[in-house]
Subunit: 552 residues, 2 copies
């Protein structure tokens, strides 16, 4: 074996589902797999999304040789505009991912400077010290790839997101033959998708969904609406197939899905006969029983097409009795309540609603336990690192690997930033590099330790009360009654009486503080404290109290 | 049939899971079933809980004869202190529910004036025009009852919350014989629990959980912690039984669970041999493999025992490698993320964690579809009203009733406040009464249309910026630079520069507005608008902008 070690550094996607990014290093060469975003949860209110902290790549930018992309989902490509703005490096991806990345970079005026390369499966290419080859896997987007990265120390297999579907809608099953060829007598290292490592058995084939959708569309007495993820082209294909079969037209509502459908059709990933896809307006002129509407909003996103339809707020589509609505997705954790509300609203408007809890209208895109075992059995890695998952998923996947014969000492449950070094003597975590989330909030960027989010959480629970005092700079005496304004704390009726008393408390506190010496920062803090205590005593709530003292 | 109609008015629990309350009326007599609270969700930040709006009962208080309680869960008894404070009426409940209600009223100094009655199953008693009899059902708390209410028009069966468990832990299965006797040749009306009407098949028996817990506790190498709902006495019983079997002691951590265990043991609902239950301190002195800790926190509640343990913040209990943690509960929708974080934290501290997704460590307390059919088959009602559930659950249950032969025209999917009238000619919804939620927030009470919650949601997304101006009352000129304070909007570094410019914008807007005539409300609104537009242009975010102008 060569003397230099191979280094593995996950920079995102370990400990969370999303913002996937991993660096592989050998001597002077770094190759990066994926550059995704993380969608916000209820614990990050107001945030648009998170991107990985790439301090480490920035500091080593001269050594970064390439970014390899496994597939075109946002949690694998969404951070590219941010990364490429800082590091000029070629990107390698499959054809559909290339299309999606191009759209993204074009929107930001970055396409001209980007070095994007399309990679076909089985094409070997060199990146620094590494030989790279993509191999086909199944996932909930076409053209998803696993990546074989041959290092001087041996073969590294990164599965990307995958499941094993023997009968996928696009007739492109996982390429077991390529994978077993690449793994040879056993790979050095396997990095494998852990998202569904908790789930026993096998993930069902997309064909199961096709059958359920076909039956529901065939039996529907009137209009059908199908909501799913904007990027789930295979689901669109299933709906188009059934629509053709039952002589219906398909209208796509929602900008992101319409764009994806257009591009997928142009690039040959969606097979829709001419005339089947119609505009929403044309669909409105057809009898209800000849129409299928495809829409975004399967996660109950407040501004999505389906949610606006459910709330009677959509410009072009109104739901009515006799309509059949199919939510062809399962809830991403945290979205359960939003989805439930959307379903309830649709029922209240008279629609018949089918969703994953009552009909088999969705299967997810990740391998369950038996498929993960199959992957481990094919690759037979010496070392194993579960990737893509929250901590418990990584732990569950590590336990599966042990059950497949990978020694516990060769299995590493890492978190973002951990530095795993593999050499001829073994493998070990030798340190860590900066890693974490950067939150994108409008045009602002927070690091994950920013107090801004804590402040928002507190505001959301208790509201805010702002107290303004105009005082004489010299004497410290108030020149008028304090002004008090608030939001999210109490109703107007109650506030009149309460804030009258609050103003008095603020004045008393001001007088006590300014009697001897005046340190205005201290005075503001003391007034805020007194007001906070008073409001708590009155209401058993502690709103955020903001105090400003204007000295005149 | 008598000429007067029987009237059914759900006042809570239809369209939501929680705050259950239903009124039955015949002529001058009203009888109420349950008086529960609704636990807050992510859409009601800061709220302690909701109670039903009892305007209708208040306006008819002279006719309210009794409140009948099906069982002792908070979503069935939690609103009693609020209701009894306004309406002096006797309460009838089973023995354990009586114990729990007594604790609640005693804490609030209301026990002396309350008229609480313990009812044994099979004991008939008269309430106005109604004859009432409780019958035993299974649920996730001992002593759960369905209620048979015989009206002059016929028998009304209210199931309460129920499931059919032939082998419950307390050996008290559902009393089918009483139920079929009460239903006679078919009841007039069935009101039945819809919480799990979406779920196919049967809910598993508690015995399945007992086996899983017994195996996990038996195999655990070190200390075991079991987290579940504070009121789930049967789960505590299962753990105590296994602890005895494997020669372990049980310590209960968390005030609410400790209180419940103490009362359940005193009242004979928990069978724990002397010496098995020990204090946390005594447990700390025992070898780890002789200890089971039972704790609250199965929903990831931030202040619960388990979460503090998981975060290393608990005074008495520290989790360590070798510990086994069992989360013996399934997530209540909306809590998924909190629970997942707790599990991850426990894994990171080296514990082996088992939860409902990976082991059969919980079954819920509500009937699935086949049990609901069994209930419909036993009661054979002429009219059917699904209760206890969000709208889609009620719809699903109505569809089950139709499949069991109840005509669609006799099945009523109601929402809170609907007035259903049944007489000899049929049944129909004839109107509605005020109903809805009142939010309890510390000492404050909001109605559900309060803007306070909208304001909190907005604050949580974008934060707040307060602009404070001191001006000359006559000329309208500013006497100093505006003071700007904020929370949850931006980091301090960024704010220095941004707020400098914001102050200038506020001044400009003030000058423009006050140049001609001064309407101070209008000025404040215009300044707020100008500041909001400026901040949006700079950051693509619209924080809540509060403006106060002090006129001197």
């Amino acid at each position: 074996m060569p003397e230099s070690p191979l280094t593995v550094i996950p920079l995102g996607g370990l400990g969370e589902i999303g913002q996937n990014m991993l660096a592989l290093e050998y001597e002077d060469d770094i190759v990066v797999v994926d550059a995704g975003i993380l969608f916000p949860g209820e614990d990050t209110p107001g945030i648009d999304f998170a991107i990985p902290d790439i301090t480490y790549l920035r500091e080593n930018r001269d050594r970064v040789r390439a970014i390899l992309i496994t597939h075109g989902h946002e949690d694998h490509i969404g951070a590219l505009p941010f990364v490429l703005a800082e590091i000029d490096v070629p990107v390698y991806s499959s054809r559909l991912a290339h299309g999606l990345i191009s759209v993204k970079l074009r929107e930001r005026g970055m396409i001209r400077d980007a070095r994007l390369n399309v990679v076909e499966p089985h094409t070997r290419f060199r990146v620094g010290a590494f030989q790279v080859e993509f191999f086909r896997v199944c996932h909930s987007i076409p053209d998803a790839m696993g990546i074989a990265i041959e290092s001087p120390l041996g073969m590294v297999i990164h599965t990307g997101d995958f499941k094993i579907d023997h009968t996928p809608i696009d007739s492109q099953p996982m390429d077991f033959i390529a994978l077993s060829r690449l793994a040879g007598d056993g790979a050095l290292l396997l990095l494998s998708d852990s998202t569904y490592a908790e789930v026993k058995g096998y993930t069902e084939s997309e064909q199961v969904v096709a059958q359920a959708l076909d039956r529901l569309i065939g039996e529907a007495p009137g209009r059908v609406m199908v909501a799913t993820f904007a990027s789930l082209i295979s689901r669109v294909q299933q709906v188009v197939d059934s629509a053709v079969k039952y002589d219906r037209k398909v209208a796509v509502v929602g900008r992101s899905m319409a764009n994806n459908v257009k591009m997928a059709r142009k690039m040959g990933y969606l097979d829709a006969p001419d005339g089947v896809l119609v505009s929403t307006r044309d669909a409105a002129r057809l009898p209800n029983e000849r129409v299928v509407i495809m829409a975004t909003g399967s996660q109950g996103e407040p501004t999505s097409a389906l949610v606006r339809i459910a709330n009677g707020e959509h410009r072009d589509v109104e739901v009515e009795a006799g309509d059949t609505v199919i939510i062809s997705a399962s809830p991403i954790p945290g979205n359960e309540t939003l989805i439930a509300k959307t379903i309830d609203s649709l029922f209240m408007r008279g629609a018949q609603v089918y969703y994953s809890r009552v009909e088999m209208v969705h299967v997810h895109g990740h391998a369950s336990q038996e498929e993960l075992k199959m992957m481990l059995g094919l690759v037979r890695p010496r070392y194993f690192v579960p990737v893509h998952g929250e901590y418990r998923h990584l732990v569950a996947h590590a336990s599966i690997a042990r059950s497949m014969g990978v020694p516990a000492s060769n299995t590493f449950v890492l978190t973002d930033g951990d530095v795993l070094q593999i050499d001829s003597s073994g493998a070990d975590v030798v340190g860590s590099v900066p890693a974490g989330r950067l939150y994108v909030d409008g045009r602002m960027l927070w690091n994950m330790y920013s107090e801004t989010l804590d402040e928002r959480r507190r505001l959301s629970r208790n509201g805010v009360v702002a107290v303004l005092l105009c005082v004489d700079e010299v004497t410290g005496e108030a020149l008028a009654e304090p002004a008090i304004v608030s939001s999210g704390f109490t109703d107007l009726d109650e506030s009149q009486y309460l804030f009258g008393k609050t103003a008095k408390i603020a004045l008393q506190s001001l007088e006590t503080e300014t009697r001897y010496a005046i340190d205005w920062d201290r005075v503001e803090a003391r007034v805020a404290g007194a007001v906070s205590d008073f409001l708590y005593e009155q209401t058993r709530r502690r709103p955020t109290v903001l105090v400003a003292i204007e000295r005149l």
